[in-house]
């Protein structure tokens, strides 16, 4: 479904991605794990068209995304939950969800989907008229995921959904991610919480200093010595 081929991305003089190759097949959960500054966010932002690649290719359903703008990429079926949630602070919860469906015109279906998000995250229903800035971190993460689902993506990019959340909530969020995947959305999940990510993913890539260091089945990487030492706390 998604194929990254030898991606190179620069921030001015900083060579952030040094030849990334990643493949995500339809129906999978693929996770990209790595330390701070290794290039995970940059990879996702490049897929979404927020950063421009210097060389390499991004193929989505066989189409090259190089010349496609960020807003058109959403229409093609990729939705991105950015690092740090980035909900629209001054808008209500409902407005945030509504704007997630910006690319769609089917009003009654949108309303149904919003109701589905409310049943997935009941707390959002309770807070629907509150401004998003008043939500807790976990609630904001739920809102960011709900908002991203409203474009009805085929591929969902998640950037550290567990960041800054209590372990119990992290578990909830991961359960929901698996649930979303079971309902038919392919997922590329970026995480520092390697343990959780590897437990729920099918396959995994380990990124270090802008390069893919290891790849394989998630279950195998969970028991890989190097991975254990570096990312799973021994």
């Amino acid at each position: 479904m998604l194929e990254l081929k030898d991606l190179h991305v620069y921030y001015g003089g900083i060579h952030a991605l040094k030849g990334i190759d990643i493949k995500v097949n339809e129906g999978e959960i693929v996770t990209l794990v790595g330390a701070n500054g290794s290039g995970k966010t940059t990879t996702l932002r490049t897929i979404s068209g927020l950063e421009t690649l210097k060389s390499g290719n991004i193929l989505f359903k066989g189409k090259d995304l190089k010349k496609v703008t960020a807003s058109e990429i959403v229409k093609m079926g990729i939705s991105h939950v950015p690092e740090g949630r980035r909900v629209f602070a001054d808008m209500s919860v409902y407005e945030n969800l509504e704007i997630g469906a910006f690319t769609r015109k089917d009003k009654s279906e949108i309303e149904k989907d919003i109701q589905n998000i409310y049943s997935l995250f009941p707390i959002l229903y309770e807070r629907k008229n509150q401004s998003a800035s008043t939500l807790s971190g976990g609630e904001q993460q739920m809102l960011a995921i709900g908002r991203a689902l409203l474009s009805r993506p085929e591929l969902l990019l998640l950037d550290e959904p567990s960041m800054g959340l209590a372990p119990l909530i992290v578990k909830d969020i991961f359960d929901i991610i698996v649930d979303i995947n079971k309902k038919g959305t392919t997922i590329l999940l970026v995480e520092q919480n390697a343990n959780m990510a590897l437990q729920c993913a099918n396959r995994a890539y380990i990124i270090k200093n802008g390069k893919i260091e290891l790849e394989g089945k998630a279950s195998e990487l969970l028991n890989h010595d190097e991975v254990k030492n570096a990312y799973l706390g021994g």
Binding site: S48, S71, P82, R86, F88, D90, M91
Partner: protein
């Protein structure tokens, strides 16, 4: 007698404030979305007045058709200016953007002088010369004031509707809150910026026609001082905040007329800028702005 005087000054202040507010809205919307102080905005207002002048003088259009057409033409002009002058430098430094805005402003002012003469022109009287008594007092209300105030309030209500209820408006709010996140929702940034310039410039064009009909005289430099005042108004309310522009406009208009009526008309401009300095010192985010930056 005192009472009449006060009512009269309030009416004048609200009328002047309406004009400031209409122009300030465009300043604040553009700032909200691309963080640019568009110093050419006052000149769009001037061009709006000239377009209104041409439409009414040569084509003999009435007040409302001229108002609406002038808004449309200013909207198009605003979009062109953004595409030609501001878009290419969108990722440059702030100072480069500011210098560009000042250049566009000078270009419009002196372009108008070159092509349409620097002379002051007489704007035709479009509105009935009628005065209405206010209640049972001796204070009179010029019908022109009524037009200014009613048109302004209607446009503000329309703007409020567009911003909160339509897709175009929601996209504008999203882009000004978080540009990257807005793009991830599928919002087209270029289109949204164009829309912002179109709406802001249309409001300035409306202000131009209103002032033309009110004072019956226009000239190529008429946008300079009101442009600066509207900028002050936007800062008073909190630049980037739409209700702030309305508040700042009325606040400044009423303050100025009050000072004039107390015999200080010579100092009214100085007072406007003194207020600007005070606001910047004491409440740099404006009266309606949040004290702490909420962005993380």
């Amino acid at each position: 007698m005192i009472m009449e005087e006060i009512i009269q000054q309030i009416v004048n202040g609200v009328s002047l404030g309406s004009i400031y507010a209409l122009i300030a809205l465009g300043y604040t919307m553009v700032y909200g979305i691309i963080k640019l102080i568009n110093f050419a905005h006052g000149d769009i207002y001037m061009i709006g007045a000239y377009v209104g002048f041409a439409l009414t003088t040569f084509l003999k259009l009435g007040f409302f058709p001229a108002l609406i057409l002038s808004m449309v033409i200013c909207a198009i002009l605003g979009v062109i200016i953004e595409k030609v002058a501001y878009k290419p430098i969108r990722n440059s430094t702030r100072i480069a953007a500011l210098i560009t805005a000042i250049s566009v402003s000078l270009f419009l002012e002196y372009g108008m002088m070159y092509f349409f003469k620097p002379d002051t022109r007489t704007f035709p009287s479009l509105l009935p010369d009628k005065q209405i008594k206010i209640f049972n007092t001796d204070a009179v209300l010029d019908i022109k004031n009524v037009y200014i105030i009613v048109v302004t309030i209607s446009l503000m209500l329309l703007l409020q509707y567009v911003i909160h209820r339509t897709k175009v408006g929601k996209a504008m709010r999203a882009v000004s809150l978080d540009r990257d996140a807005a793009q991830l929702m599928g919002i087209d940034i270029n289109k949204t910026i164009s829309n912002t310039f179109a709406i802001g410039s249309a409001l300035a064009g409306a202000a131009g026609v209103l002032v033309g009909t009110y004072y019956n005289s226009i000239n190529p430099l008429m946008g300079v001082v009101p442009g600066l005042k509207a900028f002050v108004a936007a800062v008073i309310g909190g630049i980037g905040i739409i209700p702030g522009a309305v508040f700042g406009g009325f606040f400044l208009g009423i303050t100025e007329t009050t000072i004039s009526s107390l015999g200080g008309s010579l100092y009214k401009d100085a007072v406007a800028f003194a207020i600007l300095i005070l606001v910047l010192l004491l409440k740099p985010n404006g009266f309606l702005g949040k004290d702490v930056k909420e962005k993380v």
